[in-house]
Assembly symmetry: C3
Homo-oligomer: 261 residues x 3
Amino acid sequence: MTDATLAAPPEETPLHVVVPASTLRTVVDVLGALVEECRMRFDADGVHVAAMDPATVASVSLDLSPAAFESYDVEERTLGVPLERLDDVLSMASGDDPVQLALDPETRRLTVAVAGLDYTMALVDPEAIRSPPDLAEMEFEYTAAVTLESTALSRSVRAADMVSSHATVGVDADDEAFVVSASGDTDDVRHRLAGDDLLDIDAGEAESLFSVDYLTALERPIPSGSEVTLELGMEIPMALSFEIAAGAGQVEYALSPRIAR
Amino acid sequence: MTDATLAAPPEETPLHVVVPASTLRTVVDVLGALVEECRMRFDADGVHVAAMDPATVASVSLDLSPAAFESYDVEERTLGVPLERLDDVLSMASGDDPVQLALDPETRRLTVAVAGLDYTMALVDPEAIRSPPDLAEMEFEYTAAVTLESTALSRSVRAADMVSSHATVGVDADDEAFVVSASGDTDDVRHRLAGDDLLDIDAGEAESLFSVDYLTALERPIPSGSEVTLELGMEIPMALSFEIAAGAGQVEYALSPRIAR
Amino acid sequence: MTDATLAAPPEETPLHVVVPASTLRTVVDVLGALVEECRMRFDADGVHVAAMDPATVASVSLDLSPAAFESYDVEERTLGVPLERLDDVLSMASGDDPVQLALDPETRRLTVAVAGLDYTMALVDPEAIRSPPDLAEMEFEYTAAVTLESTALSRSVRAADMVSSHATVGVDADDEAFVVSASGDTDDVRHRLAGDDLLDIDAGEAESLFSVDYLTALERPIPSGSEVTLELGMEIPMALSFEIAAGAGQVEYALSPRIAR
C-alpha cells in the first residue's frame, strides 16, 4: 500500500486534527463497548467524552490530551459522533496511518481522511444524545485497589463466564489477593491472583457482585499489554481505569453492582 | 505431505494436461466470480473461456497459453466444466502441487489427479451452457485507461461499499487522478488515486456508475500483487484486465454500467 | 501470563494428580469424539477409559500410564467425567500449563486447578454411564495392517467426503497400497497410498464400507504428526490406534462397517 497524502482540510474549519489510526480505533472501541453514539467535546485540553450505557449500568469517562495527536487545531466544540460508522472508516486504515478529522462549518459534517480516502460523515445532534450523570459527583467509599495486567483480568472474566452470568469480584485483605468467583448450578470457579501475579494491591476487604456480560464488554476493548487499576468496595460500583495512547489518554469505566441473589 | 506421483492417464485420451494447482485455482476463482459452469475450449493455442453471468451484467474472457502448463497434450475439444466441484478437488492440493487433467473418451468424464488423489468428474454438456455474446464485436469508446495495484482497487471498492450499493468510477483528466466515489443516505465517500499511487494513467474524462456487488465479485479473485488495467469511458462498460500464471494467461472482465439514478 | 502456583489439594484426598494441559486436552478430544461423559478409572497402572458412542457404531479404549503425569497419587477409583465442562476449563490453560485434579472426598466433586484458577466440577454418577461391551472379547480376523501419518489419513477422509457419506477403506494386496474410495451420484474419488507414502504395510486383501462422518470424527482428534495404525479386514470393523502423551498413552478406536449398499 502506498502512503497516500492526506487531502487538504477545508480552508476555514473550527476543527482540524490528525491522529494515528490505532489511537482513534482504541477510542472508538472503548466507547463502543457502552454506546452507539456519543458527545465528543474538543477543547484546548484535548478530547473529553462521558457516556452511560442505555441500561444505566455502566459509564465511561475518556480524556485524550493534544499530545495524542499529530496535529491538533480546534475551537471549543462538541460533536455528536456515530461510533459504528467511524469504526467502518477506520477499518480501511492500517496500523498507525494518520487519520485527519476536519469539520465542515457549512454542512456540519465531519470529513475523515485516511490513506487516499475521504469519508464525509453526517454527525448526530449532540443535544439528542443523553447526558450521563456527572461522574465527579458520585463518590464511593472504595476499600481496596488492585492493579493487574489486562490479560489477567480477561482470564478472570472468562473463568466466571464458564459457570454463571454473575461474578463476585473482591479482595481478600488477609491474603492480599484479588479474587473473582462465580457459582453455577453444579460447578464453581474461583480465580485468585496475589503476589507477583498482581502489579500492585492496596488490600482491604471488598466484595461486590457484577454482571459477567458487562465485565466482558468492559475488558474487551482494553489494549493488550495495558495495566488496569480496579477500585473496589463492599456492594458498591467498581472503577476500572487504564491509559491509552501511550499515556496521553485516560479511560475510567464505572460498573454498578448487581443486588446479591 | 509426501509428494505422491500422479496416476498414469488413460492410454488413449484426447486431452492430457498437467498444471500447477495454484494456476488452476486462479482460473476457477476468476470464472467462478460470474458463473457456476463454463465452456472450456482446449486447442493448440491453449485454453479459452468466454462466459457471462446469468444477469448478463458482466462477462469474462480468459486465455491460458500452453506455457502455463507443465505438460499440454490436447486434441481440439470443448468441455463443460462444473467449477465448484473442480474447486472442491483443488482444496485438496497445496501450493504448486501438479494437477493432472485427463479426459476419458469412453465415459466422457474428466479425471483430476493430484497428490495421490484421483477424482473422476462428470462433465456438463457444453451445448447446455449458454454462449456469451461475441465480446470482440462489442467496441466501446474508452476515453481513459488506468493501471493500478490490485490492493488499491480493492480498497476503492471496499470504501464505496461502506455507504452505497453503487459507485461512480472515473478519471479526473485535469488532475490525472483515478476516482471512485459513492453517496449514501447521510454519508459520502471518495477514494482518489494519482501520481505514485497509480502505475500508469492515460487520462481523459471518464465516469460511469457501477454495482458495488459486481465490482466486489470481480476484484476478489484477482491474485494479490497483480497489476490491473481499467479502461473507462462516459456511461459505458468498463474493461478490467490482468495477467495470471506469471504472464502465461490473460483475463478480461467487462462490466456494464448502471443507469445513473 | 505469569506462572501461577497451583492451589494446595484437599488434605486427605483419594486422588491427586498433575498433568500437562496439552495431554489432558488430547484425552478429552479423543473421548469427546464419541461421548459426552465417560467412566474414567484411576489405578496404580494409570488411567483407563472404555466408551462407546450412543449409536454403538464406534468405541474407544484409552490408557494413560502414570509416566504421563507430573504427579500421580491415587487410590483405585472410577470417576464419571463430564467431558465438555473439562474441555471448557482446559480452554483457560495455555500449552503445557500443569493442571491439577483433586477429588474432594466429602463433596465428591473434582477440583481442577490451572494457572491461578480453581474450578470445582460436579461429577456424574459412574453407574449412570453405559458400559461398553468388553472390547477384548471381540476378536476380528484382520487381514491387513497399515501405518501412516495422521495427515495422510485426514486427506483420505476429506477426499471421500467430497462425493459421498460412505467410503470404502481397504488394502490392495497386489500393489501393497492403502486405498480409500467413494462414489457419489456423478463423481468418484479414490485416494491411493503406497511405497514411501506409507510408514508400514502388512498387505492382504481388505475392504469394508464406513461412514465418512464417523471417520471424520475419529481422525480429527488425532494429534498432528502422529503415526496411525489401521487394522483392516473383509467387511469387519477397523481398528485405528495411535500413541498420545509422547508414548505414555495409547488409544484404540474400533469402527463398525456399514452394510454395503
